[in-house]
């Protein structure tokens, strides 16, 4: 089927109404870097695209630093998020993840809302946002609701979004003093390849140098980003030391059943999980004590 119509609603609520009316004949498009590829590859067939280019809602645009959190409009381009001083300063893991997606041409078009809604298992921002405990603001036919990032991704290219729901923006808790975060992306082929594995770590350190709180998420190795609270359960109170980071890396490697594909066998991915979880923790720790 050929796309016959491109609609450009002026607001998120108008977009929701259009999507609800058109049903399966329509697909939402933001930057177009995923949807257009899918159309060209004939993986997707719709007659109408609902573009968010003209949406004027303030909550869909801009990056605001508020008291308890950062609010990032869903329509923000990945390149803009990656370059934003507040994101780079406060949420380096998120800046690193947004700056790692595709290449500069992709990042100049792709939006953060589009990236999350696509739920590509081999993308970077999802793991970082789950680690940072972000909340996803959604508007739909039933009104607005908020989904924790950890619950947004439910399978390969599948989210908890319901029909005609649109991501308006995200809120990420603002880290306090003694918190560091890092996202490490590992590509096993070309540098612009999708990741073989991505590891995100957020660590809070006590003044005495012990781990106060920890979130570690591994992406691109399975259907959804993996956060394993039980592997992290006894980390609190332990010294922020390389042996502890290595133990956690080994724990993640043991517990995840990784993919086996051109980017690496399951054996290799397991080893890379171990290495990159440890390295992400070490980097998050360096930033936490800085």
């Amino acid at each position: 089927m050929i796309v016959e119509d491109i609609r450009r609603p002026p607001s998120l609520s108008a977009a929701v109404r259009l999507l609800a009316d058109l049903g399966d004949d329509a697909r939402l498009v933001a930057g177009g870097t995923a949807v257009v590829l899918m159309l060209r590859q004939r993986l997707l067939s719709v007659s109408t695209l609902v573009s968010l280019d003209s949406v004027a809602d303030t909550r869909y645009r801009g990056i605001d630093v508020l008291d308890g959190h950062l609010r990032i409009g869903g329509g923000e381009r990945l390149a803009d998020v990656a370059a934003h001083p507040a994101v780079r300063g406060l949420l380096p893991a998120f800046a690193e993840a947004c700056g790692a997606v595709g290449n500069v041409r992709i990042r100049n078009r792709a939006t953060i809302a589009g990236n999350l809604a696509e739920a590509d298992y081999a993308s970077d921002p999802p793991a970082a946002l789950v680690a940072l405990d972000a909340q996803v603001d959604v508007i739909g036919p039933g009104g607005a609701r908020r989904i924790p990032a950890a619950e947004l991704f439910v399978g390969y290219y599948e989210t908890a979004l319901q029909d005609a729901e649109v991501i308006a923006g995200i809120e990420v808790p603002r880290p306090t003093r003694g918190v560091g975060s890092a996202y490490l992306r590992f590509t096993s082929r070309g540098s612009e390849d999708r990741p073989c594995i991505g590891a995100a770590a957020v660590m809070a350190i006590t003044p005495g140098g012990r781990i106060e709180h920890l979130r570690v998420v591994v992406g691109a190795v399975a259907d959804v980003p993996h956060l394993l609270p039980d592997v992290l359960a006894d980390a609190a109170g332990r010294p922020a030391a390389d042996e502890v980071f290595a133990e956690i890396g080994a724990g993640y490697a043991r517990r995840i059943d990784p993919l086996d594909d051109e980017r690496g066998s399951a054996w290799y991915r397991r080893r890379m999980i171990e290495v990159h979880v440890r390295r992400a923790l070490a980097e998050a720790h360096r930033r936490a004590v800085r």
Binding site: I2, N103, F186, S188, G190, V275
Partner: protein
């Protein structure tokens, strides 16, 4: 003059290319392709395809008035549309012609094929087994070449040490940015084709043979080509466009999508067994090489290509006793064809990797071991030729100097660094022939018609500069026309690093004639034909591969430093130097672009490019799953060209491609002691090798 006059338009996408062409009344074709690697074609149901609005025709082999045209290089074995048998997944089975591309694609997807699946074979060694499925009735060996020089078995038996290794290269994809595109138009019994090709005259001759036309009834035109790397040397989609246009009686264009490009032509996968006998002092006394090339399902140019491979197999060394067998084998895979550094990269990977292993085993520095054995002027090559104009000693010196001139960051903990280098020798297309037409105009300008194709390498700027220098005028007064076989006389192809030398020589010949005629008082307008011929080559060899193999020998080398992450196995090339023997440099900028571009191109097949196969199907025919080098993978680089006073011009398009992978492999060995013998050097393979080696070392 700007050394790259088309660069700005090329980057912006504003350069005129075949895809921009619109012919009046032009229709669009789409190809229905075999979904299986090997099968009996029972029938084609086009009912649903005919019902798609805008469809003009659906064409299969049985719809043709006569037998289906076949085409090829030396052997016309490839049907334009499969008849009763499909031999690779992706083989064209039917054509849909429609008013627009969308309708054609939609209708092509609606064509249903009835195929009985047959057992298939995709690996060349397996295809040689007695019980292997036959790709063609005559057997799976397409062509076997042998070379014998001296008494290699006896010399191997008496050598102090013998090294016996197998090196493998997988199939890889060229991935030109511009996909294949061709438009065809018939008038009475004459055919005109516009196509993105490297070889207008090859396409012309192939089409004339396939459609039983006198060659003068076929006209082939090319515009700027958006990358080729060998993918557009042989005839590929032009017969499909011609067949569709003849059937509907209107001009038809066929433009491949990215997945189709992956299913059109690939790099020859190769398995190389190399046995080398060496004296304790480092002198190589014997070398026996057995190469098996995966030709895919049809011959294309693999018959001669395997012969060229045979000639290049021994490497740039003075070896008195040599035996080579070089065998091209049919399999149920996409036909293989020229791939920048063709029939050389796979061999250089073997002989230059083994060279460093020999050096380590003998305790000799790798550069010194090369110096002991290098071909020099007066050396006898294994073809029996006495070599001249060789410059490997200078290349070694230049490579080391240039690499050292590049600054690098200090090594980090957990990483290892190492340096490696490699040299290569490559014959050029021989025999080959180039002609051009040069017109002196009344207004003092000159018009140059050649079939040499501008692919972004700057061929036209080079030809223009050579003509202007010989004419004693400025390049601005010489206009170089795009290839059109109605105007441009014969040229073999824009490939094999031959254009600067072969067509350049023809242009210089023409310019000399014009200059002499002007001096003798002839009044413009008038025109001359310039020509150049290189004799010998494959046709001139005896049954032992002895004879004048190449017009001249291409010489190049690469030196690199790599960084290996010991926990992940990931290789980063941190600096690289590429050097070529250029004879006489026409443009230093364009030579540097070729040397640098060659190394960047070669990084992919060295480190991660590989076509995956499962059940006879390519698993990664798209740019998400087939990874390419990006600019973030490009090391700090330097380039150098060795020149010689009064020397021939040399093309330089491939000189750094073959040595890149073995230079990296040798650097990895120097960094962490592991030897990889299978490309690509994926981090997982490197890590496994590091771990295996660690276990061998007693605690």
């Amino acid at each position: 003059m700007n050394p790259m006059p088309d660069a700005r338009d090329r980057v912006r996408g504003t350069l005129p290319m075949t895809v921009h062409l619109h012919l009046s009344g032009m229709l669009h074709a789409a190809v229905v392709r075999s979904p299986v690697a090997h099968g009996e074609l029972r029938g084609v149901d086009a009912t649903a395809a005919h019902a798609v609005p805008g469809v003009v025709a659906v064409l299969t082999a049985v719809d043709l008035p006569g037998p289906v045209p076949h085409f090829g290089d030396a052997t016309d074995d490839q049907p334009v549309l499969a008849t009763d048998r499909v031999r690779y997944a992706g083989e064209p089975v039917a054509l849909v012609v429609a008013e627009d591309e969308h309708a054609a694609a939609a209708a092509a997807a609606a064509v249903e094929l009835d195929v009985d699946v047959l057992p298939h074979v995709t690996d060349a060694d397996e295809a040689l087994a007695p019980e292997a499925p036959l790709v063609h009735p005559g057997g799976n060996v397409l062509r076997a070449w042998t070379l014998r020089h001296g008494d290699p078995e006896a010399a191997l038996a008496t050598a102090d040490r013998v090294y016996d290794d197998v090196y493998e290269s997988p199939p890889a994809a060229h991935v030109p940015m511009e996909p294949h595109v061709a438009a065809a138009e018939w008038t009475d019994e004459a055919l005109t084709v516009w196509t993105s090709t490297q070889s207008p005259h090859v396409v012309r001759e192939t089409l004339a043979a396939a459609f039983a036309l006198p060659v003068e009834h076929v006209r082939v035109c090319a515009l700027n080509v958006g990358g080729a790397y060998g993918a557009k040397v042989v005839t590929t989609i032009e017969p499909l466009a011609a067949l569709a246009a003849r059937h509907v009686g209107r001009p038809v264009r066929l433009r491949l999508d990215r997945a189709e490009v992956f299913h059109t032509l690939v790099k020859h996968a190769a398995r190389v067994r190399i046995r080398t006998g060496v004296r304790n002092d480092g002198r190589i006394v014997a070398r026996l090489i057995d190469v098996v090339w995966n030709a895919g399902a049809y011959a294309t140019n693999s018959e001669s290509a395997a012969g060229y491979g045979m000639l290049r197999a021994p490497g740039p060394y003075d070896v008195p006793n040599v035996a080579v067998t070089s065998t091209a084998v049919f399999t149920n895979t996409v036909p293989a064809g020229p791939f920048r550094g063709a029939m050389t990269s796979q061999l250089c990977w073997a002989y230059e990797s083994q060279m460093d292993d020999i050096a380590a085993d003998l305790g000799i520095d790798p550069v010194r071991l090369r110096e002991i054995n290098l071909l020099r002027d007066g050396s006898v090559y294994p073809t029996g030729e006495v070599m001249h104009d060789l410059h490997y000693d200078e290349l070694l010196a230049v490579l080391r100097r240039e690499l050292a001139a590049i600054d690098v960051e200090p090594v980090r903990p957990g990483h290892a660094r190492g340096q490696g280098l490699a040299l290569m020798i490559k014959s050029t297309l021989t025999p080959s022939h180039s002609e051009c037409r040069l017109r002196a105009c009344a207004d003092g300008t000159y018009e140059l018609h050649t079939a040499s194709v501008e692919i972004g390498q700057g061929a036209h700027a080079t030809l223009r500069a050579l003509a202007a220098a010989e004419l004693g005028t400025t390049p601005e007064r010489v206009v170089v026309y795009q290839p059109d076989t109605a105007e441009a006389p014969y040229d073999s192809m824009t490939a094999s690093s031959r254009t600067t030398f072969a067509m350049g020589s023809a242009v210089q010949d023409a310019a000399r004639q014009v200059r002499q005629a002007l001096a003798a008082g002839r009044t413009p307008p008038f025109e001359v034909i310039g020509s150049w011929t290189g004799d010998g080559g494959l046709d001139a060899l005896d049954e032992h591969g002895q004879g004048p193999a190449s017009t001249h020998w291409h010489q190049g080398g690469v030196a690199v430093e790599v960084d290996v992450d010991l926990e992940t196995g990931r290789i980063t090339v941190v600096r690289a130097a590429g050097a070529c023997y250029a004879g006489r440099v026409v443009s230093p900028v364009r030579v540097a672009h070729q040397n640098e571009g060659g190394m960047i191109f070669a990084l992919g097949p060295a480190l991660f490019e590989e076509l995956g196969l499962r059940d006879g199907l390519i698993t990664n025919p798209n740019l998400s799953d087939y990874s390419l080098p990006s600019f973030r993978d490009v090391p700090r680089m330097r380039s150098a060209a060795v020149e010689a006073p009064g020397a021939d011009l040399h093309g330089v398009g491939e000189m750094t491609v073959p040595p890149t992978a073995p230079a990296i492999g040798n650097a990895v060995r120097a960094a962490c002691g592991v030897r990889l013998r299978r490309l690509p050097m994926h981090p997982e393979r490197v890590l496994r090798a590091i771990l295996e080696r660690a276990e061998e070392v007693p605690a």
